[in-house]
């Protein structure tokens, strides 16, 4: 992969993304994230990304409510079931250069070797001993918002079964997947050789996440960065997800607040009965098919004011750190758990938007 021939893209290095609150992106050793990706490139930007509705770096004032889109016909339901009810750590990924869906087998082979090599560093091992680790890259069909979206990719690290019999199953020790749902704005402005899979979700040991991330960064000249979720966006999630119609496994809408600036730490969990939360949201939300910032603010203010009436505490002065609803739960550190396949696309669409806004 020669550097000279390709167009250059620069990430805005000096400006903190508004949602990051001053955290340093990966690439330098950070004690907070605990991951040390060795990024060998800095790329310069010759193009500007322009988002449809928003100014640079600002949160949108309105969002379309995703129609509960059934997953596409050829959806891989077993793989998709695997994605649900698991805790995933979120990353944003810049577009990958010269990634090809035809070479997945080759990538699997290379990544297996890389993982084995990294794991063996410092150990005295026989040459050729592969430590029983196998990496597979595969596509996940059906995870698309629009037709222009790139097909999602699943990466799994499995340790080979030590058992002697033939059909002994390998045990998956780490999983990660790339997707991009309705990433139209980004796709339009990216040149041909680039693949946009802006959202990455990882489950498993952080050491594996670091190794896999380093390989992708080196091979496709992209950049991974931890995707944290601001209290503002958590409030959006609380409002939008409370409004979703759910038929089974209904759970309370729970907001968890952490109180800063006092000597003893204090956490406040505020859980609202799902029917009552939805009733409140339905009264607040006026425009069909669309959610506005004012509506989200009003919803949250109503909840704060009901709380204040009882406890005389201003929740608005505290920090919203976690939101749990029937369809998904999200934590400000950038962790997500999705519970219903019906709303998977909607949740991923919102997360893709956050990821893209972080990379711009």
């Amino acid at each position: 992969m020669r550097r000279s021939g390709r167009p250059s893209l620069r990430r805005r290095q000096d400006m903190d993304t508004p949602d990051s609150g001053g955290k340093t992106p990966l690439g330098r050793k950070t004690a907070e994230t605990g991951i040390n990706f060795t990024s060998s490139t800095r790329f310069s930007r010759g193009l500007t990304f322009i988002r449809g509705h928003t100014l640079f770096g600002q949160s949108p004032t309105r969002r379309i409510i995703p129609q509960t889109s059934l997953l596409q016909e050829n959806a891989d339901s077993q793989k998709i079931a695997f994605l649900l009810r698991k805790q995933w750590t979120l990353y944003s990924v810049t577009p990958m250069y010269k990634f090809s869906y035809d070479n997945l087998k080759e990538y699997s082979r290379l990544l297996s070797a890389f993982v084995a090599a990294e794991k063996q560093k410092g150990l005295a091992v026989e040459v050729g001993n592969d430590l029983g680790i196998k990496v597979t890259l595969s596509t996940i069909l059906g995870l698309k918002g629009t037709d222009q979206d790139q097909v999602a990719i699943l990466v799994q690290i499995a340790s080979r079964s030590q058992l002697p019999f033939e059909n002994a199953e390998d045990k998956v020790v780490w999983s990660g997947w790339f997707c991009c749902i309705s990433g139209d704005d980004l796709l339009e402005s990216v040149p041909e050789d680039f693949t946009c899979l802006s959202l990455f979700l990882a489950n498993g040991a952080e050491s594996y996440t670091a190794i896999v991330g380093s390989w992708f960064q080196k091979t496709f000249d992209c950049y991974f960065s931890r995707l944290t979720i601001s209290p503002l966006n958590l409030a959006w999630m609380a409002a939008m997800w409370t409004g979703c119609k759910v038929d089974s496994h209904i759970a309370a809408t729970e907001l968890v607040f952490s109180v800063p600036c006092i000597p003893q730490s204090l956490d406040i969990s505020y859980a609202i009965h799902p029917e009552d939360a939805k009733a409140l949201w339905d009264t607040v939300q006026k425009t069909p098919g669309e959610v506005t910032q004012e509506e989200v603010n009003l919803f949250m203010d109503c909840l704060y004011s009901h709380f204040h009436r009882h406890f005389k505490i201003h929740l608005s002065a505290t920090r919203l750190v976690k939101v749990s609803t029937s369809i998904a739960s999200a934590h400000c550190d950038g962790n997500i758990k999705i519970l219903h396949s019906k709303h998977l696309i909607g949740v991923l669409m919102l997360l893709t938007e956050l990821a893209i806004s972080q990379i711009q």
């Binding site: 003893q264 406040i268 505020y270 859980a271 009733a279 009901h306 406890f311 005389k312």
Partner: protein, 362 residues
């Protein structure tokens, strides 16, 4: 004297072989104890002689220390009773590792309080439990503050008691209060035995739970004092300190407001140290009523929610909210009433438009 050269003749002579389960239990109990506490606890235990204790090599890994202790116990023919006592000593020292629930016993109307007889209590308690369940291990230990600790290991009709999931009961005989931890499904049995043995009529669970046993005692025995700290004495803090040499051109905005907040906060929380509890839970079933301009829900149904506060030291954290600007002063009585009402689980219902905490049952 090395471990390998230790005599085991004592055990063989007497023909006693310590039960393997007892040996394992002692070994695991010693392993739990932090290294620097082991010698002290074994001394308090008073089961191994001074000479025996001196032979233990404390400069080896804990696995080896516990192994040596087991071998010494073998020499002394330890039974489950002695092992249980060691466990009680450990759990008394580390009582804040468990979550304690408070129970209160009541007398029937007209009954008089008899004078307490410890021997009768122990006898009646054991008899009551054993009549219902043969396989139990029961141990007692008294402490200076009139606290009687009871350790119960539960078995079933066919199985021996599980020593690793023992229940602990702390009973202060001069009071109707009992503190119970680690109780799973033997509540009626235990309650019946307690009531019977202590000559009370009834017992019920209070809505009060915490890890800090001493704070729970402070709350129910009213040993904290809201206005003036009478226990854990500290020297009085100077209130009117000489003013620092500050530039007179610097003025403090809202100085009066800040002082008002401080004094109101002191009034509702008291000056003393707050009892230590870790959580409080409120089940709210009140009507939704926002600010007048957000008269949103016109529902006639209550807005149901559950609010949980948690903190390593909840009451101190709540006390610091108003001065930090995150709460009004005075803060809600729902929060400040926790020590007085001796509860940290509440159900709040609407009562004719006035907010009140009804002390409903659980």
């Amino acid at each position: 004297m090395s471990a390998s050269g230790r005599r085991r003749r004592g055990a063989l002579d007497s023909g006693f072989t310590m039960d393997e389960t007892v040996a394992e239990y002692i070994r695991r109990t010693v392993l739990k104890i932090p290294r620097h506490e082991i010698m002290e606890m074994l001394t308090t235990w008073d089961f191994l002689s001074k000479t025996q204790l001196q032979t233990i090599n404390m400069h080896q890994i804990k696995e080896s220390i516990s192994q040596e202790v087991v071998e010494l116990c073998e020499e002394n023919s330890a039974s489950i009773k002695q092992a249980a006592i060691l466990d009680m000593i450990y759990n008394h020292t580390y009582r804040n590792k468990k979550i304690w629930t408070v129970y209160r016993m009541t007398k029937a109307a007209g009954e008089e309080t008899d004078s307490f007889n410890l021997a009768d209590f122990k006898y009646n308690f054991k008899r009551s439990l054993r009549s219902a369940l043969k396989n139990v291990t029961i141990n007692f230990r008294e402490y200076e503050d009139n606290a009687t600790w009871i350790r119960i290991a539960w078995g079933t009709q066919y199985t021996k008691p599980n020593q690793y999931k023992a229940t602990y009961v702390v009973y202060h005989s001069q009071t109707p209060y009992v503190f119970i931890s680690s109780l799973r499904n033997r509540i009626p049995l235990l309650c019946q035995a307690l009531v019977h043995a202590s000559n009370y009529h009834d017992i019920h669970e209070m809505e009060l739970r915490s890890r800090c046993l001493d704070s729970l005692k402070d709350i129910v025995f009213k040993r904290y004092c809201q206005t003036f700290q009478t226990y854990h004495p500290r020297p009085l803090q100077e209130r009117n300190v000489a003013p620092e040499k500050v530039d007179p051109r610097i003025i403090q905005e809202n100085k009066r407001e800040k002082e008002r907040i401080q004094s109101v906060n002191q009034e509702v929380f008291g000056e003393g140290l707050q009892p230590k509890i870790e959580f409080a839970q409120y089940k709210l079933e009140t009507m939704f009523k926002g600010e007048p301009e957000m008269d949103i829900l016109t529902e006639k149904e209550p807005f149901r929610c559950v609010v949980k506060f948690s903190s390593p030291h909840l009451l101190e954290a709540l006390k610091s909210l108003a001065p930090a600007g995150m709460a009004d002063a005075p803060i809600s009585p729902l929060l400040t009433c926790i020590p007085q009402k001796a509860r940290n689980y509440f159900k709040i219902k609407e009562r004719k438009g006035i907010l009140s905490a009804s002390c409903l049952g659980p």
